[in-house]
Symmetry: C2
Subunit: 302 residues, 2 copies
């Protein structure tokens, strides 16, 4: 029996250099969320470490671990003790030279499933293509005691395809562990546009699929190793929205630990889809070109 109202919590925090300190922060926050009645806790992307992708350094592969492994064991123990579902994020070592950015789902004591980040960014300060092999598990939601979870990761949040594929596979909730922030060199207007673009595109996925959505981002400034003048000011602003994209809860960008609690009405999607039945009207006979990189041939005339 799935709950009609799902009590969720998003845990947003700055990361220290020491993974043990981050794990302690996370565990304390999960306990706090549980004490408030959370049944599902979403953690931020790569919550045990600083965002190491600011530079390409082979030593950072030491941060990776197998799945199942120490982090999933630790989260499973917490999830069992506190009787809830935890969606965590880690750097997965699959073999030498084969690593993934992986979301893991712990349902009480059980590793219910994993998702390997499919869309991998590579921008100045986000050298993820160096570290993360693109996922090969596709867009498969994970069944849990609180519902079928469409777990994705960060850069996936810009791609409507990812949300749609989760939706077509029956996901009841979209979840995005995230690590995104501002370049301090950008001006205030550009920073505002970027943050609102990030919120808006995800709210758009919620609308287009009539699904609730949780996005959990880190916060705090992390200097770039070797260049303290550069770095990323992670913008926090973790949020939850409903199936019409309506924001239900939103954190700020302050560099402190926030436990953002939000109740999600899991019956609301059904009501919204009855009046806005987008899945009924998709033109699957005319979508074939979505499988192309680009429709070449006439762009030169532009």
């Amino acid at each position: 029996m799935k709950p009609a109202i799902l009590h969720t919590a998003l845990i947003q925090h700055p990361c220290e250099a020491d993974p043990a300190a981050n794990r302690a922060t996370t565990a304390d926050a999960i306990r706090k969320a549980a004490s408030r009645g959370a049944q599902l806790v979403l953690l931020q992307e790569l919550h045990a470490t600083p965002y190491f992708c600011q530079v390409e350094d082979t030593a950072n592969f030491d941060l990776a671990e197998p799945v199942p492994g120490p982090t999933t064991d630790w989260l499973a123990e917490l999830a069992a003790e506190l009787k809830l579902v935890i969606v965590g994020s880690l750097f997965e070592r699959r073999d030498a030279g084969l690593y993934h950015n992986t979301t893991v789902v712990l349902d009480h004591g059980r590793l219910a499933g994993r998702y390997r980040k499919m869309h991998i960014p590579d921008d100045p300060g986000y050298h993820e293509k160096f570290y993360f092999t693109p996922g090969d598990l596709g867009f498969a939601p994970v069944d849990t005691s609180v519902g079928r979870l469409g777990v994705l990761v960060c850069w996936d949040q810009w791609f409507p395809e990812a949300a749609r594929l989760m939706s077509l596979a029956g996901a009841q909730l979209l979840l995005y562990p995230t690590a995104i922030g501002w370049d301090p060199a950008d001006d205030a207007d550009e920073k505002a546009r970027q943050l609102e673009a990030w919120v808006t595109v995800q709210r758009g996925h919620a609308v287009a699929n009539a699904l609730p959505l949780l996005a959990c981002n880190r916060c705090g400034f992390e200097a770039r190793p070797g260049d303290d003048a550069a770095g990323i000011a992670f913008w926090g602003n973790s949020f939850a929205c409903g199936p019409q994209g309506e924001v239900l809860a939103r954190a700020d960008d302050a560099p402190r630990t926030t436990v953002l609690s939000c109740d999600i009405d899991m019956a609301r999607s059904e009501a919204v889809r009855r009046i806005w039945p987008f899945l009924r009207d998709r033109r699957i006979d005319a979508y074939e070109d979505l499988l192309l990189r680009y429709r070449d041939g006439t762009a030169d005339e532009k």
Copy 2:
């Protein structure tokens, strides 16, 4: 030579029963837009008539006309005289029993192209499946003197697939003539959620494709024929946004004619795509299931 700054105007107005009156309103507004320097004018969906799809009535097929035909001739003449591009919308008669909801693009005096609405809604008060055969021209942008235009229609605006396909075909601007409004029976909270969902999902398409976007909706209350107590309060709120989804101009819902002018920086998409290169990272090897209606097999377990 395409302009770097494109002067656009959206024309939002209530519709009267008499098509000649609506055409006069439209022509006056286009002249006003031209006098302000507009190079591209977007009209609302089915701007010459009331939104006749509130009921299923075979007499309404009399409102349809061929393309090219009287409306495209009239708009072409205006576009030639005022030296601009007009994106109009009409009820197209292709043959007996074969009608479309069609966007037409008049580039100065020339019919540059058309788009037949691909996604057809059918909800209480919006009986479009009765009137409109689903489009069979696919998602093909129209080349004009002001750029390559991704013209779509109304219900298409809820489908990320439509915007993406236009983007993959090199569209430089997305345009949505629209007719959407509130059911007076809904409460204020639901009305607010619907309006914001409509704005948000389209801003999301702008973000996901790093393209500017124009949406032009009608305004004013139209009673349902045969039931004056029912009807649609078209919510106006026509808007323009940039390639980060940033709102550049937005009308209100007042039942009067509004000429909403907005300058679009057509070079901005290039700058945004250099830092957020989503087209580079699409997982076209893993999108095949987008061509499915649904991924069946496990939904019953939910």
